[in-house]
């Protein structure tokens, strides 16, 4: 069937039906890696129902010209997509289709649909789709806006707007460990980050969930290092584990709260690092990411000085630095840190002196 004919056939169909029809064709095109342009057209016109580019169609006065999908149609689309992705088949194919549906340059509508799709998949524990989403996140980049947006929407769906954390969300590491790991990386990036001089702590429920995840699945943080199922020739993007972000949470948390969960989190993070197989080159922790802790700590010190409090007398600060020193020492000793460690150590030295930290710096500088 020619491209035009196919389009004509699809146009005769009603909205959800045309998606169902279009998806297999898209799959085949994408897998064959030819006529990518046609796939993009199909996705735009028959999946997301965006304005058709053909002047011919405008002349025919199509009903849905310019009109976006309404919320109910979005959910119709989501249901079709979930059904499609639940079908058995090779992971690589699913991942490719997912990546083509939601490329890195998302329109606001697509991004909204993506968020809802992922959220619905979490609620429905749709493992195949979640694993594709995990792959997508990694390919797009866990710290990049699209991923952040998805993570944000998941947090608000399952944490902010829920009365109690749903079972499905709690069991996410079991259902889709890779996705869960990437999600942690991204979410970790949302909080405890200096923005306009303000550090936002994560919601308590979120922290509890993450702590639970890590404590029950010791290698969850490393799950993102699993190889991706991608079609041949595709390049896998570099992996960022949640370790650095979560270490930041644990380190900076004493300045905000003394919830035991943070200690717990810290413990399990250290535990995770201990489990890292240090045979290959270190991949788990980027020294630059660890260095991000220094900035907020220095701000805090400055505030203490302004309030005429000796930083060495401040229990919270002491605890933070202690945790940081422990993490650094451990990371260096199990050799899971990469990047410019010397620079990190120099940076750490700029902090007010702390016995443990001084010892750690001294010990590692020799090497």
């Amino acid at each position: 069937m020619s491209q035009a004919d196919f389009k004509q056939t699809l146009r005769k169909l009603d909205f959800p039906a045309c998606v169902k029809e279009a998806l297999p064709r898209i799959e085949s095109i994408v897998v064959s890696r030819s006529k990518q342009n046609f796939a993009i057209q199909l996705i735009s016109e028959f999946v997301f129902m965006e304005r058709p580019k053909d002047p011919v169609d405008i002349r025919k006065g199509q009903t849905f010209t310019g009109t976006q999908l309404n919320s109910f149609q979005e959910f119709q689309l989501i249901i079709v997509l979930i059904e499609y992705f639940s079908q058995p088949g090779p992971d690589a194919t699913r991942n490719v289709v997912f990546l083509s549906l939601f490329g890195s340059n998302l329109t606001p509508q697509r991004s909204k649909i993506l968020c809802r799709l992922v959220s619905t998949a979490v609620s429905g524990s749709v493992a195949p789709l979640l694993s594709s989403a995990g792959t997508w996140m990694q390919q797009v980049g866990c710290m990049n806006p699209p991923s952040l947006e998805v993570a944000q929407s998941l947090v608000s769906d399952f944490i902010t707007f829920s009365r109690k954390t749903s079972e499905q969300f709690k069991q996410l590491p079991m259902v889709a460990p890779h996705f869960a790991a990437n999600l942690m990386t991204t979410v970790a990036d949302l909080y405890m980050k200096e923005q306009n001089g303000v550090l936002t702590p994560p919601p308590d429920a979120l922290l509890d969930v993450f702590t639970e995840w890590i404590s029950e699945n010791h290698d969850l943080c490393l799950a993102s290092q699993q190889p991706l199922a991608l079609p041949s020739g595709a390049i896998a993007m570099p992996v960022v584990t949640p370790l650095a972000g979560l270490i930041r949470w644990a380190v900076l948390s004493p300045m905000f709260s003394n919830r035991p969960s943070y200690s717990n989190l810290h413990l399990w993070l250290l535990q995770t690092m201990l489990q890292i197989d240090n045979s290959g080159p270190p991949t788990a922790l980027n020294a630059q990411h660890v260095a991000q802790n220094v900035g907020p700590l220095q701000t805090y010190v400055a505030r203490l000085v302004a309030d005429k409090i000796e930083p060495t007398k401040d229990a919270a600060y002491q605890k933070s630095v202690e945790r940081l020193a422990q993490a650094v020492q451990l990371a260096i000793s199990v050799k899971c840190m990469y990047g410019n460690i010397t620079q990190l150590l120099c940076l750490l030295e700029t902090l007010p002196p702390h016995p443990l930290m001084t010892m750690v710096i001294k010990a590692n500088r020799k090497n």
């Binding site: 109910f72 149609q73 809802r116 959220s119 429905g124 769906d157 749903s166 079972e167």
Partner: protein
């Protein structure tokens, strides 16, 4: 299993919703709702579509409501079936039983959402709030068919369960919001408002109550922004909301306005420059804003602010509208509901400095006058008529600032046209307050009394004057009940003011007023003035009497002591004791009666201090003088004015009282001034009315003889129990003594008690005389009463005095005729005659009065009985001296003086023709028996035969009554005794003899014709 379930449920739900084929009513079944609630719980991603679905439910509910509701669009209240057109009462009923049309599906939804808001995570709050807001906006926009007022819209929509539920949800969620979220919500609200401005205002107004301050200030800010872009834009909805909110949230509105004004006066941004013009424009459209703006402004207003305003004006003037603002400022002023007076006065305070204020005031006044002329009303007028404004204006009427005063006066005049009571009260207030507190007030009074020119039915000043007089009267009557701080009483102020005014008016120096208006009105108010005068005079006279009594008591006591010390022949212990007891009894009596009168009149009992009382007395006297002055100024009692008889009599009585009061003035200058006032008053009324004259004369004579006798040297006889019956004596015994007839030893006669000898004469031996000045003044007063201007010599008044004297002095009703009876007959009347004689000795002023009437012939004739009594008693006493052994003769003996005076009187009254008329000069040269003889033969017999009656007198060319001595030649039998006696003493009386007997005969010989000619002339 579980996960499948969620997705399946979602799928079914989506299918159901998307396949409704355009009929949303199919969607509202309970299974769908149930699955919906489950999804809300389990599938957080779907919350938006679920909310969307809820919107549909709400919309369906609203549609159902609209289909069933039968609503009156004017009020927004449902019209009840069967009672349509039953009038406003039915709508009241409907309001009380509000019939909210509920929808079961919606109720379930509402419950679920409320649950979420109240118990769920706080994140739901803003979501549900903004969703509900949007939904309410959309629904009311879509289903409002016609424009309703805010109140009507509220009533209309709140009867719909869904709408009410949504609003409940909104306010529930608002309550859970943090401050920043609230700000966001206000933004949302206003955003929705801007989108659906026509149909959304009721929501804003309704919800504004949740955070009134931010809503109000936001709306003001938004409007300000719009205004700065285009000053011609309309703010209907905004004003509606502000109006609605201002009912319940006046404080917040004021606060918002204060802040805005502060910014406006200290502009920092370019937008701030528009604030003042903007507020003024807004105020022209919304009353609520205007009133509050004024209140806020007046709170802020001070000198600094004024300077700021002056400084910043150019900034506002640069705004396009502000230049054309002034006329509308005036109309704004007219719409003020409160503080109007305050504002205008504030403007007038600086009018001296800034001409534009004068212009502004002038325009406003003219507008107000126009309102008055058109007989319409405006809010400012009502405001001016309130109590607060009234007091403010009164206060300003006394201001020294001419603009302030004139503004206040004009405002009062304007408001008086429609509220006459204010006019009256103002007159009253100003008259009472202005004289001493501030002379500026007098100008205000003049202007106020002048009235508002050009107004047809302007209230008359009469009620105002009546009011002030009534007030003053009350105050004078019940002075002790009020706390009077100022020394000067309001009564005095009032009368001084009235005096000044009437005097000015008389001089016609007073362009505002119709001439004589004030005095005519005051004449109409005479009864009240008289009442005040009465109260005042009564008090003064009471005080006067009290002093006199005290004096006389002292004198008696002193006399008694003297007597006891000097001669002990009477001075038994018993007597002294008795006297003391008597005095005590008397004192008690006085006290009691005093207290009673005090209670009646209203003088405070138990006066604290004598000096205080003295001071009050002085003040009252001043008041009395002022009132009399006023009465003179307004020519009270003038012929031709209409006065009721009671007032005539009262006026006479009071005038006389005042006269006596005037006599007691201490300094001679003030005394003569006061007396002259009294003369003026007396003569005016006596000339005009006979009744007044009668009353005046009677009062004067009565007063001189009885009430105020002490002024004329009257001797008060202490009342003594002459019988001296011992207390233990039994009544039986007393009766036995009486049964013996008139000669019993308990018979009291003039001279004493039978069996006890003569009356103990406590009288001070020194001769009582009437103080000459008092006497003269009294006689002048009588003369003032008797003189008739057009008739030169009217006997009437003098005759009346004469008759009155008879009435008052003679104790008997019988034998008071003119003729002298046989001398024998005097024995019958002797007791009475003695009483009369006694009256003359205790009240020496009687001599003066008789002398006065003697000078106005033939009035003395009517007092014949008095003359007779004197004559008879003297005759008998001279005879008695004859019987007894020889007594040393004292030329200053009381008897001799009395005889002399009597003879003098008779001569003066021409009752004795010459030569008998000279008898009084020579009488002292005769012996007592001779005197008795002369009195009997010459005087008594002559008078017996020539009855002293007016018939003896002729009226001459000058209308004078007189007796021609040539015509009434005295027959020799009456003169011969005298002639013989004189001839015996020719050495001593030769000169007189010549004068009395020889000279007349010589004259007669020389001019014999004069008499008849005269007689003929007289008869012609």
């Amino acid at each position: 299993m579980l996960k499948q379930h969620v997705l399946l449920e979602l799928k079914q739900f989506i299918q159901a919703v998307t396949n409704h084929n355009g009929n949303p009513k199919k969607l509202t079944n309970s299974t769908l709702l149930r699955s919906c609630f489950r999804l809300l719980e389990d599938l957080p991603a779907a919350r938006e579509i679920i909310l969307e679905y809820f919107s549909i439910v709400a919309e369906v509910a609203v549609q159902n409501y609209l289909a069933n509701a039968n609503v009156d669009y004017a009020t927004g209240l449902p019209i009840r079936q069967g009672k349509q057109g039953a009038g406003p009462s039915s709508s009241n009923n409907a309001a009380t039983q509000s019939t909210v049309i509920e929808d079961s599906n919606w109720s379930a939804v509402q419950e679920a959402l409320e649950n979420l808001v109240v118990k769920g995570p706080s994140a739901w709050g803003p979501v549900i709030a903004s969703w509900s807001l949007d939904l309410v906006g959309k629904l009311s926009d879509r289903y409002t068919k016609r424009k309703m007022s805010i109140v009507a819209a509220c009533n209309y929509w709140l009867n719909c369960g869904a709408m009410r539920g949504l609003l409940t949800l909104i306010s529930l969620s608002f309550r859970k919001l943090t401050n920043s979220e609230k700000e966001a919500c206000v933004e949302t609200l206003l955003g929705a408002f801007q989108r659906y401005s026509l149909s959304f205002d009721w929501v804003v107004a309704r919800l504004g109550g949740c955070f009134p301050l931010s809503i109000i200030s936001q709306i003001l800010q938004c409007s300000l922004k719009r205004f700065s872009d285009d000053y011609r834009c309309h703010f209907d909805s905004e004003l509606g909301i502000l109006d609605y909110l201002s009912f319940a949230h006046e404080q917040e509105l004021k606060q918002a306005l204060t802040e805005l004004l502060k910014d406006g006066f200290n502009p920092k941004k370019s937008l701030d420059a528009c604030i003042i013009p903007f507020l003024l424009v807004m105020a022209t459209y919304a009353d609520a804003l205007l009133q509050n703006l004024v209140i806020v402004f007046l709170e802020m207003y001070n000198d600094d602010l004024r300077n700021t305003i002056i400084q910043k004006t150019p900034l506002w003037m640069s705004n396009k509208v502000f230049a054309e603002m002034q006329p509308s400022l005036n109309s704004l002023t007219l719409r003020l509901k409160s503080n109007g007076a305050h504002l205008l006065i504030a403007v007038s305070q600086m009018a001296e400095q800034y001409t534009w204020c004068q212009d502004f005031l002038e325009y406003t006044m003219q507008d107000l006058e126009q309102v008055v002329l058109n007989a319409t009303v405006c809010p400012l007028m009502n405001d001016l008529a309130t109590e607060d404004s009234k007091y403010l204006l009164w206060k300003n009427c006394l201001s020294a600032n001419i603009f302030q005063q004139q503004t206040a006066v004009r405002l009062l005049l304007i408001v008086s046209t429609q509220h006459s009571h204010i006019y009256y009260q103002t007159i009253s207030e100003l008259l009472r307050k202005s004289y001493v507190t501030n002379p500026n007030g007098l100008g205000a009074v003049i202007r106020i009394i002048g009235g508002q020119s050009g107004v047809v039915e302007f209230p008359c000043i009469k009620p105002g004057l009546q009011m002030v007089l009534e007030d003053v009267l009350l105050q004078e009557q019940f002075k002790h009940t009020r706390l009077i701080t100022s020394d000067q009483s309001e009564a005095l102020n009032t009368f001084k003011n009235l005096n000044t005014l009437t005097k000015m008016q008389k001089k016609n120096s007073f362009q505002y007023m119709k001439q004589n208006l004030l005095s005519n009105v005051l004449n109409d108010c005479l009864p009240k003035i008289l009442q005040i005068l009465e109260v005042t005079l009564t008090k003064v006279i009471l005080h006067m009497n009290k002093l006199a009594e005290a004096n006389s008591r002292e004198a008696i006591k002193a006399a008694r002591n003297n007597k006891n010390v000097s001669g002990n022949e009477f001075g038994s212990n018993k007597k002294v004791k008795f006297g003391a007891a008597d005095a005590e009894v008397e004192a008690m009596d006085v006290d009691n009666s005093d207290e009673d009168t005090k209670l009646i009149i209203g003088i405070p009992l138990h006066d604290s201090d004598d000096s205080e009382e003295e001071e009050k007395d002085v003040n009252r006297r001043i008041l009395a003088h002022t009132i009399i002055d006023l009465l003179n100024t307004i020519d009270v009692g003038l012929k031709g004015t209409v006065i009721r008889t009671t007032e005539i009599l009262k006026l006479s009585i009071l005038s006389v009282k005042y006269f006596f009061l005037a006599l007691t003035e201490k300094s001679s200058i003030s005394r003569s001034a006061a007396v002259n006032r009294a003369y003026l008053l007396l003569s005016r009324q006596c000339v005009a009315r006979k009744a007044a004259r009668t009353a005046c004369i009677r009062e004067l004579v009565e007063g001189a003889l009885f009430y105020y006798g002490y002024l004329f040297g009257q001797y008060d006889e202490p009342e003594v129990d002459q019988l001296e019956i011992p207390e233990h004596e039994m009544v039986l015994l007393q009766n036995q003594r009486h049964s013996l007839g008139p000669n019993a030893n308990r018979t009291v006669l003039h001279a004493g008690v039978i069996g006890r000898g003569l009356r103990p004469d406590l009288q001070i031996k020194e001769q009582k005389v009437c103080p000459a000045e008092m006497q003269t003044l009294l006689l002048k007063a009588l003369d003032a009463c008797c003189t008739v201007a057009d008739k030169q010599n009217s006997v009437e008044g003098y005759s009346m005095i004469s008759l009155l004297l008879v009435e008052m002095v003679s104790t008997d009703v019988m034998y008071n005729g003119l003729p002298f009876p046989d001398e024998e007959f005097t024995k019958v009347t002797m007791e009475r005659d003695l009483m009369i004689r006694r009256a003359f000795s205790t009240s020496p002023v009687l001599w003066a009065l008789l002398g006065f009437i003697a000078a106005h012939r033939p009035a003395l004739c009517f007092s014949s009985v008095l003359l007779r009594a004197m004559c008879a008693t003297c005759l008998h006493q001279w005879r008695a001296k004859n019987v007894n052994k020889f007594q040393p003769f004292d030329p200053n003996d009381e008897l001799m003086l009395c005889t002399q005076k009597l003879l003098q009187l008779l001569a003066m009254g021409q009752l004795l023709p010459p030569p008998l008329s000279n008898l009084h000069v020579i009488i002292k040269h005769f012996e007592p028996p001779e005197i008795a003889l002369l009195l009997k033969e010459c005087i008594w017999n002559y008078l017996k035969d020539h009855v002293p009656s007016p018939a003896l007198f002729h009226v001459d060319n000058n209308e004078l009554h007189w007796r021609n001595p040539h015509m009434s030649k005295i027959p020799p039998q009456y003169v011969d005794t005298l002639r013989n006696l004189m001839q015996k003493k020719l050495t001593k009386l030769g000169q007189h003899y010549y004068q009395m007997f020889i000279m007349p005969e010589l004259n007669e010989a020389h001019v014999p014709q004069v008499g008849p000619v005269d007689l003929i002339n007289a008869e012609l």
